[in-house]
Symmetry: C3
């Protein structure tokens, strides 16, 4: 009988963490943008890393100019090289070099290949004055602007040289092409519940060499797919969406206008790699199953965390939660975007992330979907007084140690509140016990005939109290 205490949420442990960190490290150097070769290269790498076992991988190319909701797909932008040279320097000496950091090119910059005076150049150099050693990440609409991004220290050195001419090259193209996104869909392996039965896990793939804000979400989503593939039973269909932020999500939504009908819940993942506190931003609905499951998992996790109400800011959650779709998609991160000093600079590098940080995020995600998979509404078959558990060995099953005592308490809560009106998640919320403990107690009671779960899935998750 499964009466072990619930696994701590960092259970994925070292192996999965190392795997995520390795993938993140592979992805980190690739120069991604909203469109172009960097995204395709990254997605191809993912296709290779995603688990086998029934999942279906598709990549979608949406041509430039395609109308997508209120927008249209932009021209494709690619960059091969970029540098700034002082003609007086020996050949090969680059003052600013794309090869050192792909953040040096303004993402979307029009191509340039000519001499520019310091007077003209200085207005085209973006810096992060508050972080003088770091190169900022800046973007523009494809071809709508041009320039480089440099550290304030680089800028000051250039300024100290005084007025002169530089060789500037941005070897980029802005042309008709397409926007690329990928999906990995795991079908159910158990009878699906009535009603919406798809779960969305979405992460953005458009950031260049940014570790925490950029590729950490991709790494966690990929490993989460592995976790779900290994799960013996899945009653939901899981759709992993890897798409450029904003325009990618909008493109996907444009092709999935009916998604609200099939979406049971979802999570956007970003900023999952540092060791900061977890942050959940609820969906616009605020109290959907995934909102409740994620808030409960964090609350009982023992991990520092913050649960925030929905706000229409941040990454793609605001597209999924626009009022026309209003999908029950929550946003999970560790330290959120914009709330750490290295955000959108070259200092958001591999030193900011760790295998442990990634594993913690994976653990929370896995626990959230474990709640969705295992939640159901049971009914106590012996509701008059407390039933005699001893003959079934249900008392003996729990040791006198604290874990056994907690399991015993879970049994009593499940028996008391399983009157057909509350799901196991509602019981976990009410009792303050981890869902895993409540679900284990329910499994044991079901096995011994104390409960029935003829309502095999209560998708509304029952009432709160």
């Amino acid at each position: 009988m499964a009466t072990a205490p619930p696994p701590p949420i960092d259970a994925p442990g070292r192996e999965a963490g190392d795997r995520m960190l390795a993938l993140l490290t592979e992805l980190f150097p690739i120069c991604r943008a909203k469109t172009g070769a960097g995204v395709r290269e990254s997605l191809a790498l993912l296709a290779d890393r995603l688990p086998t076992g029934g999942g279906e991988w598709t990549m979608t190319e949406v041509p430039t100019g395609t109308p997508i909701l209120d927008w249209e797909v932009p021209p494709e932008w690619n960059v091969r090289d970029a540098f700034l040279r002082d003609p007086a320097d020996p050949p090969g000496v680059r003052l600013v070099d794309f090869g050192e950091s792909n953040l040096h090119v303004l993402s979307g910059s029009a191509p340039v290949d000519r001499r520019v005076s310091w007077s003209e150049l200085q207005g085209r150099l973006r810096t992060a004055p508050g972080r003088p050693a770091d190169v900022p990440f800046r973007t523009c609409e494809p071809g709508a602007d041009w320039g480089l991004c440099v550290s304030q220290e680089q800028y000051d050195e250039l300024a100290a040289r005084g007025e002169r001419e530089y060789e500037l090259r941005v070897d980029a193209t802005v042309a008709d092409g397409s926007l690329t996104y990928a999906e990995f869909v795991l079908p159910p392996t158990a009878p699906a519940p009535d009603g919406p039965n798809e779960v969305l896990i979405s992460t953005h793939v458009c950031h260049p060499s940014l570790a925490h804000d950029g590729v950490s979400g991709i790494a966690v989503a990929t490993e989460l797919a592995r976790t779900l593939v290994e799960r013996p039973r899945r009653r939901f269909s899981y759709r992993f969406l890897f798409a450029p932020a904003t325009v990618g999500a909008i493109a996907w939504l444009a092709g999935n206008r009916d998604c609200a009908d099939r979406m049971f819940g979802g999570l956007t993942l970003a900023c999952c790699g540092d060791d900061g506190p977890f942050t959940l931003r609820r969906s616009r609905r605020g109290d959907s199953p995934v909102d409740r499951a994620a808030a409960h998992v964090l609350k009982t996790s023992g991990e520092p965390h913050e649960v925030r109400e929905f706000a229409p800011f941040g990454y793609d959650q605001r597209q999924f939660c626009s009022p026309g779709f209003d999908l029950p998609v929550a946003a999970l991160s560790r330290t959120p975007d914009g709330e750490y000093p290295e955000y959108h600079t070259s200092a958001d590098d591999l030193s900011l992330v760790s295998a442990a940080g990634l594993a913690g995020a994976l653990g929370v995600c896995a626990a959230v979907f474990d709640v969705l998979e295992r939640d159901r509404t049971c009914r106590n078959l012996k509701p008059f007084g407390e039933p005699r558990l001893g003959p079934s060995g249900l008392y003996a099953a729990f040791g006198a140690d604290p874990a056994g005592a907690a399991a015993q308490r879970a049994v009593q809560w499940v028996l008391n509140l399983s009157d057909g009106s509350r799901s196991l998640l509602a019981i976990a919320e009410r009792s303050g016990l981890p869902f895993a403990a409540v679900a284990a107690a329910a499994d044991a009671l079901l096995a011994h005939g104390f409960l029935t779960d003829d309502r095999s899935a209560d998708l509304s998750l029952g009432s709160h109290t």
Copy 2:
């Protein structure tokens, strides 16, 4: 496009503050009571100070003995002079002199003109022992009692003189007459919403020379009328009621038994002149539009404030909120009656109030009625994903400065939550942004075709969340 940050609530500024302080200073010396010449003189002065521009001024005299709800109009009380003399003193020397402070006479005192011994007199002298230098304000039913009010120090000096006879004169009259109240009604200048469309602003006019507790409410109400007259559009009718406390409100209610049908909301104003924190006491309904608007204005004002639940105490709110009427009338003040040491003594004088204090109160009132006037429920016409704001110049409209960023956030909140179920006030409450910022964002979005407000006025103000 109106995207300026919301005006701070002290926007009325110096000019309006000076005007209010000047009016208050004029009104202060007049000896008002529940009835009589002082009230009429004060109201006549108001009639002169209220703005022209379509408002209608009426004064109502309700004769003594008229039944008013469970009461009847009392006899009219007037006082011309009052003093206490020691016959041994030189002529003209008054030990207590109404000319120095009209608080010296017990308000409602029967007339007296005779010699009284110290033995008899001492029981007729009211003091405020806890504030030995101040004269208390005390009242009785007209003619039901007689006496003077003196400082404890005056009392002690008289007591030190020992037993002797004094000349006491209270030159008052108690006679059939009438109770006087005045109304100033501003009609709507824009299409009125369906349903109740009258707003009540009420303040008491029965206090003699008391500055904060007495005339500050009159000054703010008068200037508020000017603010509303200058407003380009008013969809509500505004009724300003200047009446003696309790019996005046009861007389008005007796003549307006149908007021509940037409009353959209209201505020009682009193104690508006000091620099203490704002205090809102919600109406008995607790969550009416004016309650919500006032609580929101205070919450986002940056001003120290307290929002209290309804309680059947204080000034005329408890009459308007008696269960038979249950009007949605909230009470706004700075430091409330009874909660400052100078309350109902001669120390509640001009030194307690200031132009800035009055202007702050006016600003809150103006902001509250700005909410009621501008609130409406809109619908996002491009609800699928976030719409493209750039081509309309709606991004460019907002600068990179903090005010521009706040305006941008307001635009995103309005777009996300305008699904036809929430009014702008509900969006302001949910987002925590000032209503003015939300309304400005809605105006801009309406102007550019992103929103519709075909439900031009949602009088229920939509749901909360």
Copy 3:
């Protein structure tokens, strides 16, 4: 007119406290268990102490083997003596002696009368290692185990003697017999409300010499019966249940399967004798009248207290609140079971309890049932404006002292909120005034024709706000 301030909740005072302490002291030495002579002796003593005046006393014997819900009545267990001797000691010297403390025998122990080696014995001696001087209270199913309970110090002394043989005698019987519980029912003396009209007060009677956890509840329940007998009007029927914990409550429920239909509310009483803070654990329903009344009484009592949500732990509340019955039974205690260091040891003796502690608990109980008896929904007959109270003497009735001012406030609250939708308890909750003050104000207003209570009893207790 009854306008005195509400009595403090320790009103029962010295006499009742002394009576409870005397009863507790009589009951303390009796060796009670789940079944057997000790329970019967204790109940017989109660029958003698309960008040006359219309109450009906019944004792019920349920034979061994009777099915009771999911259980059956266990064999009856009795013990006459128990001891441990070293044969080397002089005759009469007992190393462990039931005569010193009835906790020394494992409650339910099979009979033993033979020599046992230290090797065998040591596993049969229960201790409380954390409290070396105290004998623990331990139990087993009748005859399922055998042994003694000793202090850790006693154990260590025995261990120091080394291996040897002891004379062990547990003069107990395990045999068919019966389980005993008693009821004392006070019928209504006033018209009963429609719907459920029975109130249950339950306390366990199965603990041997334990003062706070054991007999304090019995003492308070007995004195509460006296308080209720002396009450001039009772609209509810009061059923006091004295039963062994768990199996006794289950036996009673088995014989009262229809109890949910007649149960208006109830309290379980245990751990009522120390001077710790009061603890209310709400019923499973959470917001039933008795939950609200008890929470309100504690909140306005000025006594330290904690109000907890329901949890399916502790004494018999969890049987009454099992989902099949779901009775509105709250649990009241001072320091709860398991939350004080002397719990279930010989240190839970008479030194832990006091007349004042018992009287405080009695006062809370009496106040709770006073709320249930006096609560009703009234209607203000003069709801337009505030009515004129002076002519009825209702102002004069209240002095200028703080108690008078509180009474005056209660009058204003009752008038304002008595619109037929709120009961007096709802008004007390809303106003924060003690129920007794609100009820006294209502009585005065009813007597003077300001209110009607034609809905003589609002069993739902009206809405909250």
